[in-house]
Subunit: 234 residues, 2 copies
DNA sequence: CGTGTGATTGACGCCTGTCAACGTCTGTGG
DNA sequence: CCACAGACGTTGACAGGCGTCAATCACACG
C-alpha cells in the first residue's frame, strides 16, 4: 500500500542542520528534491530484503524503521533503528554488495528514495557531504563494536537494562514519560539478543522492583539511576 | 623499545593496488612518505590506549595488531586484527572522539604514523581516497553487524568454529597448513566472546574429533567441511 | 464467536562461566 | 646446572543463567 499525498520537501528535512544533508548546496537540494520519490508505508511493510540488490538509498522523513539481520532458524537480530532524518541502505550501495539487513516499518513512515546514481554522484562531487556520510558510518561502527563487547560480556539482565536506556535516549519520552517507540516483546528480545520469554521475565522483574512501569507496550522508566546500575554503566 | 632501521617506503605499501592508498597520486604518496614516521614494535607493546585522544592514523607495514575493547572487570573483547596494509585509529579521528579500542602488538610490527592533520587533508582533498576509506569503514560495519548476529544467536561451539575459519581466511596457511597467526588460548576466547576454559575445552573436542590439529599455538584445520558445518555456515 | 497474534508464567535441563588444582614451558638468577 | 617464579594451558567439579517447550491468558478483528 503506497500513497503519494504529503510528499515532503527535502528543504524541510535539511532545515535540521545537525542532519546528514547539512552540507548540500541549495542547488543540490533542489536537484535531490526533483530526483527523489516519496512514499507512505504502513507498519509491517518491508522496504527491502536482506540479500536483495539495493537500487538506492532511503531517507526517513517520518516514522520508524527497524533494520535486522536474519540468523539461525529465522530469528531476527535488530541492528539499529532509523527515524526522521536517518538514512538506510547507504552501506551496501558503496561496496555494490547485496543488502545485509532487512528494513521493516515499525511505525508508519514517509520514506524518500534516492536512486543509487544520484546518491553516488553527490558523494563524488560534494566532499563535505561525503565526509559527513563517512562520519555517520564511523559512528555506526563505534556503536556496533561497543555492542559486540556488551553482548559478549554482559548478561541478559544488564543488556536489557542498557537497551531501555538506549531507547529512551534515541526516541525520547512523551508527556507521560513513556518511551516514544512501541515494540513487541519479541522485538525487545531481538534487540537484546535473547529469547522473548527471557525478555518478558526480566521486564516483569524490573516492574516488580519499581524500576520501570509497564502498560502494554508502553514503557516508563521510573528509576533511571537504578536502571543504569542494573545495566552496569558508570 | 623502538628502532628506526628499515623504514619502509609508502610506495612499497601502495604497490599493492588493492589497498587503501591505491587512489593517491604520486605527489601525495611522496608527501606522505615525507610526513609519516615509522617505528618497530615488539609483541606486547601498546600502540594506543582506549580512552586516549588519538593524534593520527597508523598504517601497518609489517606484523599483526589486535584491537580490543576492555569490558567488565578488564576482560578484553577483540574487535579486529590489523595486518600489512591495514590502517588503525582512523575512526576516532573523524569524529574527534577518544579512541574506543586499545591497539596492541601481537606479532612484531613495523608501523607508520600519519598525523591527524595530514590524514584529514588527504581525505578532504582527494575524493577517491576518501571514498575508499568510506568503503573500508562500511565493510567493517558490515562485519561488525554480522558478528553481533552471530554472538547473539550462535552458541560458543559454533562461534569458535567460525572464528577459526575467519582466521584461516584472514591470515592464510604456512607450508605445513598451520594458520599464520599465533594466539594465546585467552586471545582466542576473547575473539569468540567466551571464557578461556570454554575455548580450551572446545578446541580439545575439535581435536578429538579430528577436525583440527593442535600443537601449542599452532592450529591446523584438518576437515574444513565439518568445521563449516560445526559453525553452522551454509 | 472463532481465529490469530502477542503476552505471560511454569517446568526443565543444558550450556557455559567460575573456581580451583595441577601440569607445562620458558627464562632468570644464584 | 638447578631452583624458582611466572605465564600459559588443561582438566574437573559445580551451579545457575537462560533457552526451549508447553499451557494459558488477553485482546483485536473479521
Amino acid at each position: 500500500m503506497k500513497s503519494h499525498h504529503d510528499i515532503p520537501f527535502c528543504e524541510q528535512c535539511v532545515s535540521n542542520m545537525t542532519n546528514i544533508f547539512k552540507h548540500l548546496s541549495q542547488e543540490e537540494i533542489e536537484n535531490l528534491n526533483y530526483t527523489k520519490s516519496c512514499n507512505f508505508h504502513k507498519r509491517g511493510e518491508i522496504i527491502y530484503h536482506e540479500g536483495n540488490r539495493p537500487t538506492g538509498v532511503y531517507c526517513v522523513s517520518k516514522g520508524i524503521i527497524k533494520l535486522y539481520k536474519t540468523g539461525i532458524e529465522g530469528k531476527e537480530q535488530i541492528i539499529r533503528f532509523a527515524k526522521k532524518g536517518d538514512i538506510i541502505g547507504y552501506r551496501s550501495i558503496l561496496s555494490s554488495e547485496l543488502a545485509c539487513t532487512t528494513a521493516k516499518v515499525i511505525e508508519e513512515t514517509n520514506l524518500c528514495f534516492i536512486p543509487s546514481e544520484a546518491w553516488l554522484d553527490l558523494l563524488h562531487s560534494n566532499n563535505e557531504f561525503s565526509f559527513d556520510i563517512m562520519k555517520f558510518a564511523c559512528d555506526e561502527l563505534g556503536k556496533s563494536n561497543s555492542f559486540i563487547t556488551d553482548i559478549a560480556q554482559k548478561n541478559v539482565r544488564e543488556r536489557l537494562a542498557e537497551i531501555l536506556l538506549f531507547l529512551k535516549n534515541d526516541f525520547g519520552l512523551d508527556k507521560d514519560g513513556v518511551i516514544k517507540i512501541s515494540l513487541t516483546r519479541e522485538e525487545i528480545a531481538n534487540i537484546t539478543g535473547t529469547a522473548t520469554e527471557s525478555a518478558i521475565r526480566l521486564l516483569s522483574e524490573f516492574k516488580e522492583d519499581k524500576i520501570i512501569a509497564l502498560n502494554g507496550r508502553k514503557i516508563t522508566i521510573l528509576d533511571e539511576k537504578r536502571l543504569q546500575k542494573t545495566a552496569n554503566i558508570y
